[in-house]
Protein backbone atom coordinates (compact mmCIF):
# COMPACT_ATOMS: atom_id res chain seq x y z
CA UNK A 1 0.00 0.00 0.00
CA UNK A 2 2.67 2.39 1.08
CA UNK A 3 4.90 0.93 -1.60
CA UNK A 4 2.44 1.65 -4.38
CA UNK A 5 2.09 5.24 -3.36
CA UNK A 6 5.80 5.71 -3.09
CA UNK A 7 6.53 4.25 -6.47
CA UNK A 8 4.28 6.87 -7.99
CA UNK A 9 6.24 9.69 -6.39
CA UNK A 10 7.74 12.32 -8.60
CA UNK A 11 11.49 11.90 -9.13
CA UNK A 12 14.09 14.42 -8.13
CA UNK A 13 14.99 13.80 -4.50
CA UNK A 14 18.61 14.71 -4.51
CA UNK A 15 21.16 12.25 -3.27
CA UNK A 16 23.36 13.72 -0.63
CA UNK A 17 26.84 12.80 0.32
CA UNK A 18 26.78 10.74 3.43
CA UNK A 19 28.80 7.80 4.52
CA UNK A 20 26.56 6.66 7.32
CA UNK A 21 23.27 6.09 5.55
CA UNK A 22 23.77 2.52 4.64
CA UNK A 23 26.63 0.66 6.18
CA UNK A 24 27.28 -2.45 4.14
CA UNK A 25 28.74 -1.53 0.77
CA UNK A 26 26.13 -1.23 -1.94
CA UNK A 27 23.62 -3.42 -0.16
CA UNK A 28 21.41 -3.20 2.83
CA UNK A 29 19.21 -5.69 4.59
CA UNK A 30 15.70 -4.58 5.54
CA UNK A 31 15.06 -5.07 9.26
CA UNK A 32 11.45 -5.80 8.57
CA UNK A 33 11.18 -8.07 5.52
CA UNK A 34 14.85 -9.20 5.64
CA UNK A 35 15.14 -8.59 1.91
CA UNK A 36 18.57 -7.59 0.62
CA UNK A 37 18.17 -4.27 -1.16
CA UNK A 38 20.32 -2.23 -3.48
CA UNK A 39 20.99 0.90 -1.50
CA UNK A 40 20.41 3.30 -4.36
CA UNK A 41 16.88 1.92 -4.71
CA UNK A 42 16.26 2.62 -1.03
CA UNK A 43 17.76 6.08 -1.30
CA UNK A 44 15.62 7.00 -4.28
CA UNK A 45 12.59 5.82 -2.35
CA UNK A 46 12.80 8.28 0.59
CA UNK A 47 14.85 5.74 2.56
CA UNK A 48 11.88 3.40 2.56
CA UNK A 49 12.13 -0.32 1.73
CA UNK A 50 10.76 -0.72 -1.83
CA UNK A 51 9.73 -4.25 -0.94
CA UNK A 52 7.73 -3.87 2.30
CA UNK A 53 7.46 -0.13 2.98
CA UNK A 54 9.61 -0.18 6.13
CA UNK A 55 11.01 3.24 7.03
CA UNK A 56 14.77 3.38 7.37
CA UNK A 57 16.14 6.12 9.57
CA UNK A 58 16.93 9.34 7.82
CA UNK A 59 19.91 11.54 8.49
CA UNK A 60 19.94 15.30 8.78
CA UNK A 61 21.15 16.10 5.26
CA UNK A 62 18.52 13.97 3.61
CA UNK A 63 15.78 15.27 5.86
CA UNK A 64 16.72 18.83 5.02
CA UNK A 65 16.61 18.02 1.32
CA UNK A 66 13.20 16.49 1.75
CA UNK A 67 11.62 19.24 3.88
CA UNK A 68 13.39 22.55 3.34
CA UNK A 69 13.42 24.48 0.04
CA UNK A 70 16.73 24.13 -1.73
CA UNK A 71 19.33 26.67 -0.67
CA UNK A 72 17.21 28.25 2.09
CA UNK A 73 18.57 26.51 5.19
CA UNK A 74 20.78 28.69 7.37
CA UNK A 75 22.24 26.99 10.42
CA UNK A 76 22.38 28.90 13.67
CA UNK A 77 25.91 29.96 14.41
CA UNK A 78 26.46 27.98 17.59
CA UNK A 79 29.71 26.12 18.00
CA UNK A 80 29.26 24.46 21.33
CA UNK A 81 30.82 21.53 23.04
CA UNK A 82 30.12 19.83 26.35
CA UNK A 83 32.33 20.49 29.36
CA UNK A 84 32.19 16.73 29.98
CA UNK A 85 30.56 17.35 33.37
CA UNK A 86 31.10 13.81 34.67
CA UNK A 87 34.74 13.85 33.57
CA UNK A 88 34.43 10.56 31.69
CA UNK A 89 37.77 9.78 30.13
CA UNK A 90 36.64 8.41 26.79
CA UNK A 91 33.69 10.75 26.17
CA UNK A 92 35.48 13.70 24.47
CA UNK A 93 37.38 11.27 22.27
CA UNK A 94 34.18 9.49 21.36
CA UNK A 95 32.57 12.79 20.33
CA UNK A 96 35.58 13.75 18.24
CA UNK A 97 35.61 10.42 16.43
CA UNK A 98 31.89 10.63 15.78
CA UNK A 99 32.21 14.14 14.38
CA UNK A 100 34.87 13.00 11.97
CA UNK A 101 33.06 9.84 11.00
CA UNK A 102 29.61 11.34 10.47
CA UNK A 103 30.16 14.95 9.36
CA UNK A 104 27.67 15.82 12.09
CA UNK A 105 28.44 18.35 14.80
CA UNK A 106 26.01 16.88 17.29
CA UNK A 107 22.72 14.98 17.47
CA UNK A 108 20.68 17.94 16.25
CA UNK A 109 20.96 20.54 13.50
CA UNK A 110 19.09 23.82 13.97
CA UNK A 111 18.49 26.84 11.80
CA UNK A 112 16.02 28.75 9.69
CA UNK A 113 14.69 27.75 6.30
CA UNK A 114 11.70 27.86 4.03
CA UNK A 115 9.02 25.24 3.49
CA UNK A 116 7.38 25.98 0.12
CA UNK A 117 8.28 29.60 0.70
CA UNK A 118 7.16 29.74 4.36
CA UNK A 119 9.84 30.78 6.84
CA UNK A 120 10.35 28.45 9.78
CA UNK A 121 12.80 27.63 12.52
CA UNK A 122 13.65 23.97 12.09
CA UNK A 123 15.51 21.45 14.25
CA UNK A 124 16.37 18.01 12.95
CA UNK A 125 17.76 15.31 15.19
CA UNK A 126 19.93 12.46 13.98
CA UNK A 127 20.09 8.92 15.33
CA UNK A 128 23.57 8.55 13.85
CA UNK A 129 25.06 10.64 16.65
CA UNK A 130 24.93 8.75 19.96
CA UNK A 131 21.40 7.64 19.16
CA UNK A 132 20.14 11.23 19.06
CA UNK A 133 20.60 11.48 22.81
CA UNK A 134 20.06 14.86 24.49
CA UNK A 135 23.06 16.30 26.28
CA UNK A 136 23.83 19.93 27.05
CA UNK A 137 24.61 20.81 23.42
CA UNK A 138 21.35 19.36 22.12
CA UNK A 139 19.39 20.99 24.96
CA UNK A 140 21.01 24.36 24.34
CA UNK A 141 20.51 24.22 20.57
CA UNK A 142 16.84 23.29 20.93
CA UNK A 143 16.33 26.02 23.54
CA UNK A 144 18.14 28.59 21.41
CA UNK A 145 15.98 27.61 18.44
CA UNK A 146 12.82 28.11 20.49
CA UNK A 147 14.08 31.54 21.55
CA UNK A 148 14.90 32.42 17.93
CA UNK A 149 11.41 31.35 16.84
CA UNK A 150 10.01 33.77 19.42
CA UNK A 151 12.36 36.55 18.37
CA UNK A 152 11.69 36.06 14.65
CA UNK A 153 7.96 35.29 15.21
CA UNK A 154 8.25 32.09 13.19
CA UNK A 155 6.70 28.65 13.48
CA UNK A 156 8.95 26.00 15.03
CA UNK A 157 9.32 22.51 13.62
CA UNK A 158 11.30 19.82 15.40
CA UNK A 159 11.97 16.39 13.92
CA UNK A 160 12.66 14.19 16.92
CA UNK A 161 14.65 11.00 16.96
CA UNK A 162 16.28 10.03 20.20
CA UNK A 163 17.08 7.24 22.58
CA UNK A 164 16.51 9.80 25.35
CA UNK A 165 18.98 11.32 27.77
CA UNK A 166 22.73 11.46 27.07
CA UNK A 167 24.07 9.08 29.71
CA UNK A 168 27.59 10.47 29.48
CA UNK A 169 26.38 13.84 30.78
CA UNK A 170 24.36 12.50 33.68
CA UNK A 171 22.19 14.97 35.58
CA UNK A 172 23.11 17.81 33.20
CA UNK A 173 21.40 15.83 30.48
CA UNK A 174 18.32 15.33 32.66
CA UNK A 175 18.09 19.08 33.27
CA UNK A 176 17.83 19.74 29.53
CA UNK A 177 14.30 18.32 29.73
CA UNK A 178 13.27 21.14 32.06
CA UNK A 179 15.22 23.73 30.10
CA UNK A 180 13.68 22.94 26.69
CA UNK A 181 10.22 22.56 28.24
CA UNK A 182 10.42 25.89 30.06
CA UNK A 183 11.46 27.59 26.80
CA UNK A 184 8.36 26.13 25.13
CA UNK A 185 6.12 27.87 27.69
CA UNK A 186 7.41 31.16 26.26
CA UNK A 187 6.77 30.09 22.68
CA UNK A 188 3.27 29.12 23.75
CA UNK A 189 2.68 32.51 25.37
CA UNK A 190 3.92 34.22 22.22
CA UNK A 191 1.12 32.44 20.35
CA UNK A 192 3.45 30.74 17.94
CA UNK A 193 2.96 27.38 16.26
CA UNK A 194 5.11 24.41 17.24
CA UNK A 195 4.87 21.22 15.20
CA UNK A 196 6.63 18.21 16.66
CA UNK A 197 7.40 15.37 14.25
CA UNK A 198 8.22 12.05 15.86
CA UNK A 199 10.39 9.64 13.93
CA UNK A 200 11.83 6.23 14.73
CA UNK A 201 12.79 5.94 17.56
CA UNK A 202 11.71 8.67 20.00
CA UNK A 203 12.10 7.70 23.66
CA UNK A 204 12.89 8.70 27.20
CA UNK A 205 13.74 12.27 28.09
CA UNK A 206 12.95 13.57 24.62
CA UNK A 207 9.48 12.00 24.61
CA UNK A 208 9.03 13.31 28.17
CA UNK A 209 9.86 16.88 27.18
CA UNK A 210 9.72 18.91 23.95
CA UNK A 211 8.68 16.07 21.63
CA UNK A 212 5.34 15.63 23.43
CA UNK A 213 4.54 19.33 23.67
CA UNK A 214 3.76 20.25 20.07
CA UNK A 215 0.58 22.17 19.29
CA UNK A 216 0.44 19.55 16.59
CA UNK A 217 2.26 16.24 16.85
CA UNK A 218 2.92 14.26 13.69
CA UNK A 219 4.69 10.93 13.34
CA UNK A 220 6.13 8.79 10.59
CA UNK A 221 4.43 5.43 9.95
CA UNK A 222 5.71 2.61 12.12
CA UNK A 223 7.95 4.85 14.25
CA UNK A 224 8.61 3.47 17.73
CA UNK A 225 7.69 6.08 20.33
CA UNK A 226 7.51 5.84 24.10
CA UNK A 227 8.83 6.87 27.47
CA UNK A 228 10.26 3.64 28.85
CA UNK A 229 12.05 1.30 26.46
CA UNK A 230 10.32 -2.00 25.60
CA UNK A 231 13.00 -4.10 27.33
CA UNK A 232 12.72 -2.16 30.58
CA UNK A 233 8.95 -2.61 30.54
CA UNK A 234 9.21 -6.34 29.83
CA UNK A 235 11.69 -6.77 32.67
CA UNK A 236 9.49 -4.79 35.06
CA UNK A 237 6.20 -6.49 34.35
CA UNK A 238 7.64 -9.92 33.50
CA UNK A 239 5.60 -10.46 30.39
CA UNK A 240 6.03 -9.82 26.70
CA UNK A 241 4.51 -6.78 25.08
CA UNK A 242 1.48 -6.76 22.80
CA UNK A 243 1.89 -6.57 19.03
CA UNK A 244 2.23 -3.01 17.79
CA UNK A 245 2.97 -1.60 21.26
CA UNK A 246 4.59 1.87 21.16
CA UNK A 247 4.25 2.27 17.41
CA UNK A 248 3.08 5.55 15.92
CA UNK A 249 -0.21 3.79 15.13
CA UNK A 250 -0.56 2.77 18.81
CA UNK A 251 0.00 6.37 19.91
CA UNK A 252 -2.53 7.62 17.37
CA UNK A 253 -5.09 5.13 18.73
CA UNK A 254 -4.44 6.25 22.28
CA UNK A 255 -4.79 9.92 21.44
CA UNK A 256 -1.22 11.11 21.81
CA UNK A 257 -0.48 12.19 18.26
CA UNK A 258 -2.51 14.14 15.74
CA UNK A 259 -1.62 12.41 12.53
CA UNK A 260 0.64 9.86 10.89
CA UNK A 261 2.20 11.32 7.78
CA UNK A 262 4.16 9.49 5.09
CA UNK A 263 7.50 10.88 4.06
CA UNK A 264 6.37 11.83 0.60
CA UNK A 265 3.55 13.91 2.11
CA UNK A 266 5.46 15.47 5.02
CA UNK A 267 6.53 18.71 3.36
CA UNK A 268 3.10 19.42 1.92
CA UNK A 269 1.44 18.61 5.27
CA UNK A 270 3.75 20.94 7.17
CA UNK A 271 3.13 23.65 4.59
CA UNK A 272 -0.65 23.31 4.92
CA UNK A 273 -0.50 23.36 8.70
CA UNK A 274 1.69 26.47 8.68
CA UNK A 275 -0.78 28.11 6.30
CA UNK A 276 -3.63 27.37 8.71
CA UNK A 277 -1.82 29.20 11.49
CA UNK A 278 -0.87 32.32 9.63
CA UNK A 279 -2.48 35.58 10.78
CA UNK A 280 -6.00 35.22 9.49
CA UNK A 281 -9.03 37.02 10.82
CA UNK A 282 -9.77 36.93 14.52
Amino acid sequence: MIVDKIKKREPGIKKIKSNIDIPIGQWIKCDNCKDILYKDDVRKNYNICPNCGHYFRMHIGKRLDLIVDEGTYKRFDLNLDTTNPLGLEDYPKKLKTLREKTDLEEAVACGTGKIKGEDVVICIMDSGFLMGSMGAVVGEKITYSIEQAIKLKLPLIIFAVSGGARMQEGIVSLMQMAKTTAALTKLDEAGLLYISVLTDPTYGGVTASFASLGDIILAEPGAMIGFAGPRVIEQTIGESLPEGFQTAEFLLDHGFIDKIVERKDMKETLYKLIQYHKGGEA
Binding site: A182, S209, F245
Partner: protein, 269 residues
Protein backbone atom coordinates in the same frame (compact mmCIF):
# COMPACT_ATOMS: atom_id res chain seq x y z
CA UNK B 1 26.70 14.81 60.82
CA UNK B 2 29.03 15.61 57.97
CA UNK B 3 31.25 12.51 57.86
CA UNK B 4 32.35 11.82 54.27
CA UNK B 5 30.71 8.71 52.90
CA UNK B 6 30.86 7.30 49.40
CA UNK B 7 28.27 8.00 46.73
CA UNK B 8 27.22 4.36 46.73
CA UNK B 9 26.69 4.45 50.49
CA UNK B 10 24.44 7.43 49.96
CA UNK B 11 22.46 5.45 47.38
CA UNK B 12 21.93 2.77 50.02
CA UNK B 13 20.93 5.31 52.65
CA UNK B 14 18.55 7.06 50.24
CA UNK B 15 16.89 3.73 49.43
CA UNK B 16 16.71 2.38 52.95
CA UNK B 17 13.09 1.31 53.49
CA UNK B 18 13.26 2.77 57.01
CA UNK B 19 14.10 6.22 55.66
CA UNK B 20 11.56 8.92 56.38
CA UNK B 21 9.03 9.32 53.58
CA UNK B 22 7.33 12.39 52.17
CA UNK B 23 4.28 12.00 54.42
CA UNK B 24 6.56 11.87 57.47
CA UNK B 25 8.09 15.19 56.48
CA UNK B 26 4.77 16.72 55.48
CA UNK B 27 3.19 15.89 58.83
CA UNK B 28 6.23 17.13 60.67
CA UNK B 29 6.69 20.41 58.77
CA UNK B 30 3.12 21.53 58.08
CA UNK B 31 0.13 22.06 60.33
CA UNK B 32 -3.26 20.66 59.46
CA UNK B 33 -2.32 18.69 56.35
CA UNK B 34 -5.37 17.69 54.34
CA UNK B 35 -4.82 15.16 51.57
CA UNK B 36 -6.96 15.62 48.46
CA UNK B 37 -7.28 12.96 45.80
CA UNK B 38 -7.58 12.18 42.14
CA UNK B 39 -6.77 13.47 38.67
CA UNK B 40 -10.51 13.96 37.79
CA UNK B 41 -9.94 11.88 34.72
CA UNK B 42 -8.90 8.30 35.35
CA UNK B 43 -7.98 7.51 38.96
CA UNK B 44 -6.23 8.45 42.16
CA UNK B 45 -2.71 7.18 41.65
CA UNK B 46 -1.16 6.88 45.08
CA UNK B 47 2.50 7.22 44.16
CA UNK B 48 1.98 10.97 44.38
CA UNK B 49 0.19 12.53 47.33
CA UNK B 50 -1.36 15.99 47.00
CA UNK B 51 -2.97 18.26 49.52
CA UNK B 52 -3.02 21.46 51.54
CA UNK B 53 -0.98 22.41 54.56
CA UNK B 54 0.11 25.49 56.45
CA UNK B 55 3.06 26.94 58.27
CA UNK B 56 1.74 29.62 60.61
CA UNK B 57 -0.71 31.64 58.54
CA UNK B 58 0.85 30.74 55.22
CA UNK B 59 -1.07 28.17 53.16
CA UNK B 60 0.68 25.78 50.80
CA UNK B 61 -0.17 23.31 48.09
CA UNK B 62 1.85 20.15 48.65
CA UNK B 63 2.75 17.59 45.99
CA UNK B 64 4.85 14.62 47.03
CA UNK B 65 6.13 11.32 45.73
CA UNK B 66 5.35 8.71 48.34
CA UNK B 67 7.03 5.36 48.91
CA UNK B 68 5.70 2.74 51.27
CA UNK B 69 7.54 1.07 54.16
CA UNK B 70 5.83 -2.29 54.26
CA UNK B 71 5.10 -4.53 51.27
CA UNK B 72 1.42 -3.73 51.60
CA UNK B 73 2.10 0.01 51.59
CA UNK B 74 4.48 -0.33 48.68
CA UNK B 75 1.92 -2.15 46.59
CA UNK B 76 -0.58 0.59 47.35
CA UNK B 77 2.01 3.25 46.46
CA UNK B 78 3.35 1.31 43.45
CA UNK B 79 6.77 1.53 45.16
CA UNK B 80 6.64 5.29 44.73
CA UNK B 81 6.71 4.97 40.93
CA UNK B 82 4.07 7.27 39.47
CA UNK B 83 1.75 6.42 36.62
CA UNK B 84 0.64 9.27 34.33
CA UNK B 85 -2.40 9.92 36.55
CA UNK B 86 -0.09 10.95 39.37
CA UNK B 87 1.42 13.69 37.24
CA UNK B 88 -2.00 14.76 36.02
CA UNK B 89 -3.16 14.95 39.63
CA UNK B 90 -0.09 17.06 40.38
CA UNK B 91 -0.92 19.39 37.48
CA UNK B 92 -4.45 19.82 38.81
CA UNK B 93 -3.11 20.93 42.16
CA UNK B 94 -0.46 23.20 40.64
CA UNK B 95 -3.18 25.06 38.78
CA UNK B 96 -5.27 25.36 41.93
CA UNK B 97 -2.26 26.69 43.78
CA UNK B 98 -1.97 29.41 41.18
CA UNK B 99 -5.68 30.18 41.27
CA UNK B 100 -5.69 30.58 45.04
CA UNK B 101 -2.23 32.16 45.19
CA UNK B 102 -0.58 29.48 47.33
CA UNK B 103 3.10 28.58 47.01
CA UNK B 104 3.80 25.00 45.95
CA UNK B 105 6.10 22.66 47.85
CA UNK B 106 7.05 19.36 46.22
CA UNK B 107 8.82 16.40 47.79
CA UNK B 108 10.85 14.18 45.47
CA UNK B 109 11.39 10.52 46.29
CA UNK B 110 11.08 8.04 43.43
CA UNK B 111 13.00 5.37 41.55
CA UNK B 112 11.36 6.85 38.45
CA UNK B 113 8.10 6.98 36.57
CA UNK B 114 6.54 3.52 36.28
CA UNK B 115 7.51 1.60 33.12
CA UNK B 116 4.33 -0.31 32.35
CA UNK B 117 1.98 -1.07 29.47
CA UNK B 118 -0.85 1.03 30.91
CA UNK B 119 1.52 3.89 31.69
CA UNK B 120 2.60 4.01 28.04
CA UNK B 121 -0.98 3.65 26.79
CA UNK B 122 -1.95 6.64 28.88
CA UNK B 123 1.01 8.78 27.83
CA UNK B 124 3.68 8.65 30.53
CA UNK B 125 5.99 10.85 28.44
CA UNK B 126 3.29 13.41 27.77
CA UNK B 127 2.28 13.48 31.44
CA UNK B 128 5.84 14.21 32.58
CA UNK B 129 6.39 16.81 29.87
CA UNK B 130 3.12 18.54 30.69
CA UNK B 131 3.84 18.55 34.40
CA UNK B 132 7.17 20.32 33.81
CA UNK B 133 5.49 22.67 31.34
CA UNK B 134 2.79 23.72 33.79
CA UNK B 135 5.28 24.00 36.62
CA UNK B 136 7.65 26.18 34.60
CA UNK B 137 4.98 28.84 34.11
CA UNK B 138 3.35 28.87 37.56
CA UNK B 139 2.88 32.40 38.87
CA UNK B 140 3.41 31.29 42.49
CA UNK B 141 6.72 30.38 44.19
CA UNK B 142 7.73 26.73 43.95
CA UNK B 143 10.20 24.88 46.18
CA UNK B 144 11.21 21.25 45.63
CA UNK B 145 12.92 19.10 48.22
CA UNK B 146 14.73 15.90 47.26
CA UNK B 147 14.37 13.74 50.37
CA UNK B 148 15.39 10.27 49.16
CA UNK B 149 15.81 8.94 45.65
CA UNK B 150 15.34 11.43 42.85
CA UNK B 151 15.64 9.33 39.76
CA UNK B 152 15.09 10.36 36.13
CA UNK B 153 12.28 12.28 34.49
CA UNK B 154 9.88 10.82 37.02
CA UNK B 155 11.56 12.96 39.68
CA UNK B 156 12.18 16.08 37.59
CA UNK B 157 8.50 16.06 36.55
CA UNK B 158 7.71 17.70 39.90
CA UNK B 159 11.10 19.39 40.29
CA UNK B 160 10.86 22.52 38.14
CA UNK B 161 11.13 24.85 41.12
CA UNK B 162 12.52 28.28 41.98
CA UNK B 163 14.67 26.64 44.61
CA UNK B 164 15.61 23.00 44.98
CA UNK B 165 16.68 21.75 48.41
CA UNK B 166 18.23 18.37 48.99
CA UNK B 167 18.87 16.29 52.06
CA UNK B 168 22.56 15.60 52.55
CA UNK B 169 22.25 11.85 51.94
CA UNK B 170 19.59 11.95 49.26
CA UNK B 171 20.49 11.26 45.62
CA UNK B 172 19.32 12.88 42.39
CA UNK B 173 20.29 11.37 39.05
CA UNK B 174 19.49 10.65 35.46
CA UNK B 175 18.63 7.05 36.38
CA UNK B 176 19.72 4.39 38.86
CA UNK B 177 23.44 3.54 39.05
CA UNK B 178 22.49 -0.02 38.04
CA UNK B 179 20.69 1.24 34.94
CA UNK B 180 23.49 3.66 34.20
CA UNK B 181 26.24 1.06 34.25
CA UNK B 182 24.24 -1.40 32.19
CA UNK B 183 23.39 1.19 29.53
CA UNK B 184 26.72 2.99 29.36
CA UNK B 185 29.11 0.14 30.06
CA UNK B 186 26.87 -2.81 29.18
CA UNK B 187 27.79 -4.18 32.59
CA UNK B 188 25.26 -3.90 35.40
CA UNK B 189 27.78 -5.18 37.96
CA UNK B 190 29.67 -1.86 37.86
CA UNK B 191 26.89 0.01 39.68
CA UNK B 192 29.12 1.15 42.56
CA UNK B 193 31.59 2.68 40.16
CA UNK B 194 28.67 4.27 38.30
CA UNK B 195 27.40 5.84 41.53
CA UNK B 196 30.77 7.49 42.10
CA UNK B 197 30.91 8.80 38.51
CA UNK B 198 27.35 10.04 38.17
CA UNK B 199 27.55 13.12 40.41
CA UNK B 200 24.37 12.17 42.19
CA UNK B 201 25.23 13.43 45.69
CA UNK B 202 23.96 16.68 47.15
CA UNK B 203 27.48 18.11 47.20
CA UNK B 204 28.10 17.36 43.50
CA UNK B 205 24.69 18.67 42.51
CA UNK B 206 25.23 21.84 44.46
CA UNK B 207 28.45 22.50 42.57
CA UNK B 208 26.62 21.89 39.27
CA UNK B 209 23.92 24.38 40.44
CA UNK B 210 21.23 21.75 40.00
CA UNK B 211 20.28 22.22 43.65
CA UNK B 212 20.40 25.38 45.73
CA UNK B 213 20.59 24.21 49.32
CA UNK B 214 21.86 21.16 51.16
CA UNK B 215 19.94 20.25 54.31
CA UNK B 216 22.22 18.49 56.78
CA UNK B 217 21.15 15.15 58.20
CA UNK B 218 22.80 12.37 60.17
CA UNK B 219 23.57 9.00 58.58
CA UNK B 220 21.22 7.24 60.94
CA UNK B 221 18.22 9.35 61.76
CA UNK B 222 16.83 9.12 65.30
CA UNK B 223 13.51 10.76 66.22
CA UNK B 224 15.18 13.84 67.71
CA UNK B 225 17.32 14.20 64.58
CA UNK B 226 14.21 13.95 62.46
CA UNK B 227 12.58 16.78 64.39
CA UNK B 228 15.69 18.89 63.81
CA UNK B 229 15.93 18.10 60.07
CA UNK B 230 12.21 18.85 59.62
CA UNK B 231 12.67 22.10 61.46
CA UNK B 232 15.62 23.06 59.25
CA UNK B 233 13.54 22.40 56.15
CA UNK B 234 10.71 24.45 57.60
CA UNK B 235 13.05 27.37 58.31
CA UNK B 236 14.41 27.29 54.76
CA UNK B 237 10.91 27.16 53.31
CA UNK B 238 9.88 30.16 55.41
CA UNK B 239 12.99 32.09 54.44
CA UNK B 240 12.60 31.47 50.72
CA UNK B 241 8.87 32.08 50.68
CA UNK B 242 9.21 35.41 52.45
CA UNK B 243 11.90 36.38 49.94
CA UNK B 244 9.84 35.31 46.93
CA UNK B 245 6.66 36.96 48.19
CA UNK B 246 8.39 40.28 47.59
CA UNK B 247 8.92 39.44 43.92
CA UNK B 248 6.39 40.20 41.21
CA UNK B 249 4.67 37.21 39.59
CA UNK B 250 6.74 37.76 36.45
CA UNK B 251 9.93 37.79 38.47
CA UNK B 252 8.96 34.56 40.20
CA UNK B 253 8.54 32.91 36.79
CA UNK B 254 11.70 34.51 35.45
CA UNK B 255 13.79 33.37 38.40
CA UNK B 256 12.65 29.78 37.85
CA UNK B 257 13.24 30.06 34.12
CA UNK B 258 16.79 31.35 34.54
CA UNK B 259 17.67 28.59 36.95
CA UNK B 260 17.08 25.91 34.32
CA UNK B 261 18.07 28.05 31.33
CA UNK B 262 21.51 28.48 32.83
CA UNK B 263 22.29 24.81 33.35
CA UNK B 264 24.65 24.67 30.39
CA UNK B 265 27.99 23.01 31.06
CA UNK B 266 29.10 24.17 27.63
CA UNK B 267 32.22 25.54 26.04
CA UNK B 268 32.81 27.20 22.67
CA UNK B 269 34.28 24.77 20.18
Amino acid sequence: MGKEISAWEKVEIARNPKRKTSLDYINSIFDDFIELHGDRNFKDDKAIVCGLGKIGKQNFTIIAEQKGRTTKENIERNFGMPNPESYRKAIRFMKQAEKFNRPVITFIDTKGAYPGIGAEERGQGEAIAKSMFEMAKLKVPVISIVIGEGSSGGALAIGVANKVFMLENAIYSILSPEGYSSILWKDSSRFKEAAEKMKLTAKDLYSLKVIDKIIKEPIEMQEEDFAKVSDDIKKEIKKEISRMKKLSKDDVIEERYSKFRNIKELIEK
